[in-house]
């Protein structure tokens, strides 16, 4: 966890310093705002990882001397197949076509997207198929 936290925090710190120089020097706001947001985007997960890296013992993947047995057990649920990503993707496709060809494309678009939302949630509650 420590390395992950450091990567993000140092990146955020560098963006912050760079932004301080840029904003004061350039008198231009757009880039400064975007760089500031970039800094926050690094600090948010980085500080989360830092917080936990100080409070939990090293995971097997952080332990240089870990054996494969130390990581054995349940990793997570990985659904083998699912139709809902395709349904949601087609929904998004129709929503974008509505931007171009007319508002009526929103009906199939949002319909598919909402259907996929319910379907994927129900599938998640079942734990997915293996």
């Amino acid at each position: 966890m420590k390395v992950e936290a450091k990567v993000l925090l140092y990146l955020g710190l560098f963006f912050g310093i760079m932004n301080a120089v840029y904003w004061n020097w350039s008198l231009e706001n757009a880039g400064g705002v975007m760089m500031f947001a970039g800094m926050l985007l690094c600090f948010l997960p980085g500080s989360y990882y830092y917080f936990w890296s100080r409070r939990m013992k090293a995971r097997p993947e952080d332990d240089p001397n870990a054996t494969q047995t130390s990581g054995a057990g349940f990793i997570g649920t990985f659904p083998g197949t699912s139709i809902w990503p395709f349904t949601l993707g087609m929904g998004a496709f129709f929503v974008v076509l509505a931007l171009v060809f007319g508002i009526w494309f929103l009906i199939p678009g949002l319909g598919l997207a909402v259907w996929a939302l319910f379907g994927a949630t129900a599938e998640g509650r079942r734990g997915g198929t293996h």
Partner: protein, 577 residues
């Protein structure tokens, strides 16, 4: 038939008592077949393969556009296409290549397949999100390309869509809107893939696979993922603003309503320059893996490579306005300094690649040739980039063919690394090798073609030929240079045809075995193609080369900072098979 292989490498029998990664057995895995399998799959290998195939098709489409462009420019008053068709062609050539080929090929295709296997994970962290990002990419590609079938034709404002050229007065019609919509979809697909890669690397590494034991390719993909998350939302926001300007009467980018046209350039390039590294870093990673494996050595300066990658990522957020020097409203010294600084980590990388090859037992397979071709061509592109980072030189060459030649050197280098990646990892993905003889022919056509294609463009640019023109003045020298460039483009086209021929000729013909290259990283430990959830067993991971350590226990990698073992006469022990 071919000089494919040294003696095949036999994996030693598995060490006892390795736990299975999952509880359920592999034989009980039943699922849909055929097209339903393709639609419903959440397996990162199948999704990655779909990404790879789709993006290679996009490369062929974008390449066909390029050949038409070069044919048009072969004579000063070319009449092959009309002026407006030419605008559509160069716009869609850039858009297809940047948005639909180079990026998705790397982070959606090969990285999607290889990152989980390289760190010993059973799948991506979010398999269904991974599938969704493929469908968004595919529909985005279809949306963008369907502009050609509308009455007004495809988008024709250049792949950068500068305001005010891209507003509804100057570019009416649905082709431009389809371009925006397609880009929204592919943008979200990239963001989701970035989330997936970061989460996979942070949470699904195998025991003992510490961050500083990850292969360089995985490190580069992690940094690419972070850059995607930093950059792509900016583009998406900008596209929504552009769409609002076109249809909802806002004036964000138009002077009439008090907007700022240059703001579009700021937003676009704040995405666009990190995007250059999003495109380049995965291919740096591929080249690193290939060069190390085919030099029979560990990566030289592993930590330096990681540090250089992170430095490139850090600097990439502060260089966007070097695309905007001639607008006259950007802070020239800041962007010039930051852009020149990028040369330092890139130089470290080039140094380390050469250091990896130094005194190695180099095996000139097609993948290695492609990686060396990448190194040389990228160096040319990188060095000419240093000129462009200097404002006085950029004022002189801005929007000339010099810029075109610079970034085509860079992206053609990336294409070589991409082809190297396919030749290197293809056997892992499919279980079959590609034909090496056709592969080497392909390399020489690609490499020589690239140099013949770009060198005249540098000269043309310095002589002042502007980019994005369909016709140019009758000047014998300009015509000669353009003809050479077109000839180079034809050679590149032949190399692409050779690749397709090679895939057809070698189709299921040369079984590869699990580890045909005697490679080093974890993906070569599993079977080719890998099973569902990737591994039946995992080796002990004690260095960044677990497969090598397992296959060559007498030449184990040492942990970082340890001195190498020396032989009696004081020489470093050479790692060889």
């Amino acid at each position: 038939m071919t000089d494919v292989l040294d003696p095949p490498v036999q994996l030693p029998p598995p060490p006892p008592s390795h736990e299975m990664l999952e509880e359920h057995g592999h034989d009980e895995h039943h699922g849909p077949t055929g097209i339903l399998k393709w639609i419903t799959t959440t397996d990162h290998k199948i999704i990655g393969l779909s990404y790879t195939v789709t993006s290679v098709i996009m490369m062929i489409i974008g390449g066909a556009f390029a050949e038409i462009i070069r044919a048009q420019l072969a004579s000063p008053n070319g009449t092959l296409v009309s002026l407006s068709q030419y605008n559509e062609l160069f716009t869609m050539h850039g858009s297809v290549m940047i948005y639909l080929f180079v990026g998705p090929f790397a982070f959606g295709g090969l990285a999607n397949i290889m990152v989980p296997i390289q760190i010993g994970a059973p799948d991506m962290a979010y398999p269904r999100l991974n599938a969704l990002s493929y469908w968004l990419y595919l529909t985005g590609a279809i949306t963008m390309l369907s502009g050609f079938f509308t009455a007004g034709g495809a988008a024709n404002f250049g792949w950068v869509a500068y305001a005010p050229l891209s507003n509804s007065v100057n570019t009416p019609g649905s082709g431009a809107d389809l371009w925006i919509g397609g880009l929204l979809l592919t943008g979200f697909s990239a963001i989701f893939t970035g989330v997936n890669i970061c989460a996979t690397v942070f949470y699904l590494r195998a025991p003992g696979m510490t961050m500083f034991r990850m292969p360089i390719f995985t490190w580069n993909m992690l940094v690419t993922g972070i850059l995607i998350l930093l950059a792509f939302p900016v583009l998406t926001a900008g596209l929504i603003m552009l769409y609002c300007d076109r249809h909802f009467g806002t004036h964000i980018f138009s002077v009439q309503g008090g907007g700022v046209p240059v703001l579009w350039q700021h937003i676009f390039w704040f995405w666009g320059h990190p995007e250059v590294y999003i495109l380049a870093l995965p291919f740096f990673g591929m080249a690193t893996e290939i060069i190390a494996v085919f030099s029979r050595k560990p990566v030289f300066g592993y930590k330096g490579m990681v540090f250089a990658t992170l430095t490139i990522a850090a600097l990439s957020l502060g260089v966007w306005a070097h695309h905007m020097f001639t607008t006259g409203v950007v802070l020239l010294p800041f962007f010039s300094i930051m852009s020149l600084l990028i040369a330092v980590p890139t130089g470290i990388k080039i140094f380390n690649w050469i250091g990896t090859m130094w005194r190695g037992e180099i095996w000139f397979s097609t993948a290695m040739l492609m990686a060396i071709g990448f190194l040389i061509t990228f160096l040319i592109g990188g060095l000419t980039g240093i000129y462009l980072a200097s404002p006085p030189l950029d004022f002189f060459t801005h929007d000339t063919y010099f810029v075109v030649a610079h970034f085509h050197s860079v992206v053609m280098a990336l294409l070589m690394a991409a082809m190297g990646g396919l030749y290197y990892w293809g056997p892992k993905i499919t279980g079959y090798l590609l034909n090496e003889r056709i592969g080497k022919m392909q390399f020489w056509f690609l490499f020589i073609g690239t140099q013949i294609f770009t060198f005249p463009l540098y000269v043309l640019g310095l002589e002042g030929m502007p980019r994005r023109v369909a016709i140019y003045p009758h000047d014998p020298q300009w015509k000669t240079l353009n003809d050479w460039s077109t000839f180079g483009a034809i050679l590149i086209g032949i190399s692409t045809i050779l690749f397709v021929v090679n895939v057809a000729v070698s189709w299921k013909k040369y079984p590869s075995g699990d580890n045909p290259w005697d490679a080093q990283t974890l993906e070569w430990f599993t079977t080719s193609p890998p099973p569902h959830h990737n591994f039946y067993r995992l080796p002990q991971i004690r260095s960044e080369r677990p497969t090598w350590d397992h296959n060559h226990p007498e030449h184990r990698s040492l942990t970082h900072g340890k001195h190498p073992e020396l032989t009696e006469d004081g020489l470093e022990k050479v790692h060889s098979s």
